[in-house]
């Protein structure tokens, strides 16, 4: 640019050099400011907010340029008032315009390259989040059809085919209904009545497996049967009660499912003999999933609590209760 100016306007070399140095200094300062402002938006900021920040920083930079321009003009008119022969250099405004466009262009390119980088990063993190979600869903599905239970049940049924063909037929039916329920969308709510139906199918199968080691007692007040509960929630608690309780006891024990209504809350208690220490032997993923789903589907006023007293482990679901008036 210096060479261009010298050629076009016959201006002395050193003056042009100074002017260009000033300009490049301004460019560097401006770029640095831009970077600072963009970084202040945070590493995770989207490409849109990069542009917004660039625009915001553009306003003070532009007003700075305008101030410098008006100061130069002001100084010129002061000089002119002293000496009428003083003239504005040729292409004064053109040069200013040219510098402004050059700087604007440079800033635009810089911001755009940053924005592209950001948008790539944002895309990658979005894909990663999606992948994590899908994996979590898969884990939920896997946890709902416990492979141990599934293959043990199939083994039991195979043994029953010879011993009691009629009971084998029943078992196949229970298993089918249970699998169908497990394959339903996990985000759905359904009346407790239906959920208990699934739990009964499950427990019937486990009774075939554990025989006299498992006895079941279900007592839910009729008023609670229409309470909406997340699909497979009570089922998971019952499965835990068998896996960590009944199955670890040589003589088995009683698995009870009891419901209570207390004012505007209701609770479902799943109890089994055992210790909480044994229950912690798993990865706790099932319970964590159950809690997340309950929170999402029923709301933060709901909860699942585990407790152990006198060799009995209880899992208690608490939910808001609204009496349905006809």
């Amino acid at each position: 640019m210096m060479v261009l100016n010298v050629m076009l306007h016959d201006r002395p070399m050193d003056e042009e050099l100074k002017s260009d140095m000033r300009f490049f200094f301004c460019c560097m300062l401006g770029t640095h400011l831009l970077r600072m402002f963009i970084q202040s938006a945070g590493e995770t900021a989207s490409w849109r907010s990069v542009y917004v920040h660039a625009f915001l920083v553009g306003i003070p930079v532009c007003s700075l340029l305008m101030t410098v321009l008006s100061l130069e003009l002001f100084a010129f008119f002061q000089l002119k008032s002293v000496d009428q022969r003083f003239e504005l250099p040729r292409a004064f405004f053109g040069l200013w315009f040219f510098k402004a466009v050059l700087f604007g262009g440079w800033a635009g390119v810089y911001v755009s390259s940053l924005a592209v980088k950001r948008s790539n990063k944002a895309e990658v993190s979005r894909l990663e989040a999606e992948k994590a979600l899908r994996e979590a869903e898969l884990r939920v599905l896997k946890a709902q059809i416990n492979p141990h239970f599934l293959f043990n049940s199939l083994n039991t049924i195979r043994a029953l085919v010879n011993e009691h063909p009629d009971r084998a037929q029943e078992a196949v039916l229970h298993l089918s209904l249970l699998l169908r329920a497990a394959l339903q969308s996990e985000s759905m709510l359904r009346p407790l009545r239906e959920e208990l139906g699934t739990v009964r199918h499950y427990l019937e199968l486990e009774k075939l497996r554990f025989e006299e080691r498992l006895s079941v007692h279900i007592n839910i007040p009729a008023g609670m049967m229409d309470v909406p509960v997340p699909t497979m929630l009570v089922q998971i608690l019952a499965e835990n009660a068998v896996k960590h309780g009944i199955a670890t006891m040589v003589n088995g024990g009683l698995l009870s499912i009891t419901g209570f209504i207390d004012g505007d809350t209701c609770s479902i208690v799943v109890a089994n003999p055992g210790t909480l220490k044994g229950a912690a032997g798993g990865n706790g993923l099932g319970l964590l999933n159950a809690r997340t789903r309950l929170d999402r589907l029923v709301g933060p006023s709901s909860s699942i609590e585990l407790a152990e007293k006198d060799g009995i482990v209880t899992a208690t679901i608490q939910m808001p209760y609204r009496r349905i008036t006809v």
Binding site: P147, H148, F149, L150, F151, N152, L154, N155, T156, R158, A159, L160, N162, E163, L208, R209, F210, E211, A247, T248, M249, V250
Partner: protein
């Protein structure tokens, strides 16, 4: 005839396995057990050649049972409903396992494998008849566990055993595992013609000695396989010399 024990906490699972085993005339099911304690007693009382062992049982897993066993271990085939990490962790492919519901073809393979194992060990014992004591022979195996890894290791593979309080550290082929038994109790059960008490805290396998060096004032320094160095006290060094020179 292969004397066989079935260990599973579910009656129907035992029934099913028994039915499948009917197809093998060489298998004689001598007993059943429903949990770890019962199984340990049955193994002691019946001394079976082969055990079909469920992994998940009340009162402890199949691994706990193997760890508990004092005498020689029978051939073991694990039976489980699900491909467990713990079973795949077995080193040297030492252990067979079947998945429920059991595939008869896989069962036939497992039985054949167990039979081969039993026959080769019987041959070995005939060649080198063990003294008629309760001592374990070189071909007998111990169950070892180190974190997630498990081994069923013939005693002859052990390089040395070190005392660590009430525990013992077994070193073999570049690995080591902890046993919940004191060194003296282990020494009592091992064949003294193979295992030699080098000093207060170490028991070495004579067949795994690579090099013997003279050490200070009549003591010996023994280098074992895997370059483990063991010092023999003067008194033990004399016994060791006698033993080696026959």
């Amino acid at each position: 005839m292969i004397r066989t024990l079935i260990v599973d906490d579910e009656r129907l699972a035992r029934v099913e396995l028994r039915r499948l085993l009917d197809a093998f005339p060489e298998i004689q099911v001598v007993g059943e057990a429903a949990h770890v304690t019962e199984a340990a007693e049955a193994i002691r009382a019946l001394n079976p050649d082969l055990v079909f062992l469920d992994v998940q049982m009340p009162g402890g897993t199949g691994f706990d049972l193997l760890e508990k066993m004092e005498g020689a271990l029978p051939e073991v085939v694990f039976v489980t409903a699900f491909d467990e990490h713990a079973l795949r962790a077995f080193e040297f492919n030492a252990l067979d396992y079947l998945l429920k519901p059991i595939d008869p073809a896989r069962l036939a393979e497992a039985v054949q494998r167990a039979k081969d194992g039993i026959v080769s060990r019987r041959d070995e014992e005939e060649k080198n008849p063990a003294p008629p004591t309760s001592k374990l022979s070189a071909e007998d195996r111990v169950f070892l566990r180190d974190g997630d890894r498990c081994w069923l290791l013939p005693l002859r593979e052990i390089v040395l055993v070190e005392s660590d309080g009430n525990y013992s550290i077994v070193r073999f082929a570049g690995n080591s595992a902890m046993l919940p038994r004191s060194l003296s109790s282990l020494e009592e059960r091992m064949d003294p013609t193979i295992f030699f008490r080098a000093n207060r805290s170490q028991l070495i396998n004579i067949h795994k000695v690579k090099k013997v060096d003279l050490w200070f004032s009549g003591s010996l320094k023994v280098t074992m396989e895997g370059d483990l160095a063991v010092e023999l006290s003067r008194r033990q060094a004399a016994t060791f010399r006698d033993r080696l020179s026959l």
